[in-house]
Subunit: 248 residues, 8 copies
């Protein structure tokens, strides 16, 4: 029931006051004790809750996967490890694990992928983050093209891919070290560019701080930044932009 329905039932005398107050508050999550699953998120935001697997205990993780699977018919989890994958697959055999990106998911069949997102990465070490991004956007229904190892130390690699990148509704630029890829792409395309700094590098990289500051200070227009290594966040946002675009 939404707020209109609840008030309407109150007006008609079909709902007493105390129940109405409870209803207003309790319909939208599932209290597991250790966690409160946000079951109204899909209604509110268009995508169901995603599981951040890292550091979750086995019993908690399993319970959460079961609950979401039951209510949504599919589950997307990120930053899972091999042990967690085995655990879930034991109970939900159709779960699929990609060790490189850490994505552990159960996905509905024959999902359509629409629009276009370009996921670009500077080096091979950034692929892990790039895949988390790409697979997240694909899970939600976006079509994704990957452009890997096109960092600016060999600029012709990027320029060669540019015509394809320009077709996307949203571009994701993923880079560690000095993170210049975001700015260079930002100056060349007309669609929004989401920058993902990665922790790839050493020394004065300070675990991604260098790339993060680069991207935040970009002299190019139409760029924004998410947290270091946050492929998931970039994929989610890229999907949001893509799904509301004209050619989706």
């Amino acid at each position: 029931m939404d707020i209109d329905e609840i008030l309407s039932k109150v007006q008609k005398g079909q709902l007493d006051l105390e129940s109405a107050k409870q209803e207003l508050k309790s319909t939208s999550f599932l209290n597991l004790g250790f966690a409160r699953l946000d079951t109204s998120r899909k209604l509110r935001q268009g995508c169901a809750e995603v599981v951040f697997c890292q550091n979750k205990s086995d019993d908690h993780l399993l319970e959460i996967y079961k609950q979401i699977y039951q209510s949504e018919g599919e589950v997307l989890g990120t930053r899972a490890n091999l042990h967690q994958a085995s655990l879930i697959q034991e109970h939900i055999p159709q779960a699929i694990f990609d060790s490189h990106s850490g994505i552990l998911k159960i996905e509905k069949e024959n999902k359509a992928h629409k629009g276009l997102i370009a996921v670009c990465s500077a080096g091979t070490a950034d692929i892990k983050v790039a895949e988390e991004c790409a697979q997240t956007a694909e899970f939600f229904g976006s079509c994704v093209k990957r452009f890997y190892d096109i960092g600016v130390s060999g600029l012709h690699r990027l320029l060669s891919a540019l015509p394809e990148i320009e077709k996307a509704n949203c571009v994701v630029a993923i880079a560690g070290m000095e993170g210049a890829l975001g700015t260079v792409i930002g100056g060349l395309v007309s669609s929004p560019v989401i920058c993902v700094p990665t922790s790839v590098g050493y020394g004065a990289n300070f675990k991604g701080l260098s790339a993060l500051l680069t991207m935040l200070n970009s002299c190019a227009n139409g760029v924004c930044t998410v947290n270091i290594d946050n492929g998931y966040g970039a994929g989610y946002l890229a999907h949001q932009i893509n799904r509301q675009s004209k050619n989706f």
Copy 2:
């Protein structure tokens, strides 16, 4: 001429090789000596070059305004001061200056404003940045609604404005101090949320670092961040997302 045309002319013998090489490179900017105006930017990215007025010398600034006005028929400048406004208005009387946002512009008449962007700010001190954002998006043709002073210390102010905010193709959340506004809005709406940390605050705010980190680490989905106080960048990106949305 674009690359196709140039190559075509070469094939037809209408252009010699050396000229073609130069053509490929020189058509797209105007070399003023002290600056190289990116005259191909509108073609490439959809919006003409914007003038960052701060610290520019008087003669440089005037020359740049004149050149852009001549080629585009309008100019958008940011971070201008009163002195610069007088200077430009002396030579281009139709220039308009908004001292609060620092926007100094010459704008074509009867511009249509389409789609919808919601510009939200946490406190009154954030209005300066919010106006830079709103007026930038409006200059490029977006329709903007402002929601000021809806910070989370009085949550009901935000909740009251929520139904209107939810209608936007893109939401901008502008906040200093602890910057929680971005996360709270990000958890409530389904469209992309661009967070702008401001330098409003003192002490452990460290000139906006606090709000910046808050926004980068947001636990909400569908949010991204631009540089501290970068209202312009947020307005530009919001316009990009808005203009490619279905209901633009």
Copy 3:
């Protein structure tokens, strides 16, 4: 003997000068050589010394537990590991270890729990710190209610719990990542709010710095902050506030 007694005995000739000087200094701690147990702390501050187990050598830890147990009849230890728990339990079988919070304690029976403290955490990963906080306050005699996984990305979960949270004499808000929970609660309740930033997160979280700065810069009134992951400190302070409140 306190200073009054000592001076009184000196006046009456019952204590010579040198002894008096020593007495003034030596009555209040127990010198174990490697450590000086602050045996006068309970008298001075209302709670006996608590053992910070981390990095203590086995013989030191055991000796300290024995001494405090002998003088106080109960011991509270924090940040203990499994090995340390086994060691202490071998010699003091009634010791109880909670592996999640790291609390290793021997507690008097039938302890009353009075007043009310609300311990709130944003995500499931923050539960470890939340339990250190809750169990500390309970050990000292406070009544604690737990509200876990009520982070602001799903605001209705928090609003639903609000009526119960408002009843507490003191609220503890525990959150990692962007740490917005403290501010949002701070704007909604009238009792003091103790914020505990946690190191939960990654990237620009910088091991809790993000949540720490958020909480220090909170735009809400009536909030304060303790060290990152310092559940113990928050629990102690919450108990102090609770125990001196009218309805304790």
Copy 4:
């Protein structure tokens, strides 16, 4: 009207649905356009909204003072300057300005001051922050005693004042430079200690960072920290703790 009343009127047919929805949202703040005064704050949190004067434009500030004065009969403003004081006093002659603390207030007469808060500062340069703290707590109705220049480089000054400090329901420890005062007091008293780092110092003080980290890492129990130079926040919180204490 609170939520119960509104629902009750809906049930009785005295309020139509759309009006009810608006009522739920709009009763609790006053939209001035540039600001939304949180008029329900006193009801919600026990103290009316306080004005942070710094950087507010003259017309905004005056309008806010007038509105709060009208609804509350008194106004507390912080970080005001001499110009702002003159402006307000011109329109509201009974306004009182303390140039040292920056407090600009209109206060009801014959206000009772109850309980006890001890405001301690390490050096004379910290008095500015200390007064902001003390006068805030006094405005809300707390009794405050001041102990200034009792920094730990001359420990006997603190020890001499200790018996009086120990009587307070809450102690505020204000210090810049190395900020050790908070820890030393925290180890000596049994009531909660609120630490306020100040920006007093130079060099590796880094504008208060040094004192802030000292206070966050305090080895003493029962201490918490607020933002650098945040005397207001400490005074507010101290009043909250004091007002709910048994001997208030």
Copy 5:
């Protein structure tokens, strides 16, 4: 084909337009799917692409070594570990691994080493970085002399080596801790000095930040700095300077 050739063929009708566009872009790298080898780098910059082995997967690493070996006849890899060395040596037996520097290379025989580079290190713990530097420069054809353990705490060790150091076309100064070596050498020689801060040290060294800042702020003339522990970068740059010097 370079741009001249391509345009020439277009002019002569030997190449159609679409093919010409592709040719312009695709000739200069080898797309392995997961990586795009920059095969035109030697032509463009004078040295072939170097393999940064760290964190590369086995199959990726092997494929990259094979491809570069095939096209260049030799391969230089840095930051390899023992496992990676075994892997490569199994397939390319002539690969040589130096466990101290992490250099894993296949090198053409009878390579001449010309000019002179002086590689100086402050302490024995810096040798690892110094060898990465020295062996990189040697691989590209520079003659290198090593001066190890000449840190400024025993200044006579440096002064004794000075006459030999002065003969080099380029000096590399490698130091951790306080990193003063770069400044002292910079004040004594007339050739360019490349400073390499190392992460050797502890505490306020902050993993090399101390030495990095020292070197960036050097009061000596003619010094520059590369990333912390970046022996490779310094060796590459030293070779560039050496190879274009008169006495190379």
Copy 6:
């Protein structure tokens, strides 16, 4: 009266208990209301309290100078400005102000200067801090020799002065920018070296952080560091070391 006397008087019945307690606490400072002068400091530490003039109000400063002058017959003040100097000189004409170091003092005549301290500075911009150091040590009775502009970019300048520097009981090394002077001197002399980082420099100097970290991480033995620009602290400590040395 010291503690022995007080207890003795109590034993003999010459002092009642309450008076004794007060006596123990109140003899050692002078409560001016806004400040508590530490009048027992000379007895306790060998040097009377020194006035940190910066930011003190006129009436406070004057009162403090008068009180210390009355009790000690001389006053040392640091970081005074021209206005403060005029103020004090108006009331205490024999006060002497050195605008370069900011020292404002009234000094007893014919003071002996014993032992030897060497105050070394790297550049001319460091002289301000160096003079604060030198004049502080001289005020307390140490003999000081100055060695200015001997920075390591011209090492022979330092080596030339070395024989004289080696004669000192304590060496102070004052340097900004990269701050290498402390380490180089530390490796050459056998007496303790106090390093003073200065804020001289720009860019990655970060207001003295660079020199501070250099000095803290020095690879030389026998060096310690004080706060950035803290010439006073170094002068005080150098005097302490000098005064207890055999040849003082």
Copy 7:
């Protein structure tokens, strides 16, 4: 006299021991009391001492200019202001001041400029630093070409200038904000690239830190970095590299 001469004179009995020791140390600088001019620097390093004017007192500055002019016949000063320029020009009329770069110099006539250095800057606001760099290198005898406003947000501007840049013996890349210019140039040319981060920008630029980290972490080969805004240092080093190059 150099060391050989001195020892030779000692051997021949033409110099007594004590004089020889002094001679070894004192020939190479001029002690002005407040400064020790490094008169042997030209001999030792190839370029005479340069005057850093900032913060120097008038009398010191004038004395230094006079002394260097007398011994060298020309003087290069950096970071001078208008007042200092007037002062010097009053006494040395042939002194020339460039207010934009802050260069204040007296230069020998008909100086030859050899080799080639390319000085590139990203934006117009970086010109100040770029001119300090270019004019420094020119003073020492290098030929310099300037390429201004070629930042990567409009990549075609850089690509257009590339053929000319490639001809230089050394390239200087000057950029603020995100500082990507250094990496992009570094990936395109074969000569050494000196990166100069500038403090141009705002917010998370942190006064040049962003550009500094970008440049230090560059994924391109053959790049090094100097301090933020250090145009002088880059110009000096570029000249060193240029002067020892084959085509100088």
Copy 8:
């Protein structure tokens, strides 16, 4: 031979010029290839070179111990581990290892310990650093008294030990967390106080940064600071101060 002897021999014709130059440079260290032992350090600074064992390879470590043992008859090594201890003891059976402090030494018998140094630590976790400090000073011949676990959270423990601490020629204050011990001791004693911040703590301690800043900003006189966890450096400096004191 010192410089006097060498010059004298040259004068007498007993030494030719080239040999003299070499002699001047080579007498004072022993070149092991991988290291240059500073054999003249004892002559120059009063203490022989100490071995920093951490990260040294086995063969290097053994060779260094052997060489120093041969020339000095004793060796002091710090930060050794168990493996290194076994290695050295196998070849030099009289070597003694203290696993707590990491000291691995061979020491001459019947060494006298003179003067007095007070080594104070705040908590039991700081003992590791405190022992490195104490044993270093003892090795060089100082008499050391230890005062452990006297942190300021229980101030009476420190006050009780004060009379003994006051007798020392030099006090070392070792503390982690908030590091207030240094300031409190600094305000109570008249001898120099060397502060050693330790990395003991968590969260906003930032691996010792908190205690380091506290100590650098101490409001007490006569204190200085060494690097985080640098017990060795403090012990060395304390010995220097002690050995030149009157009562040594």
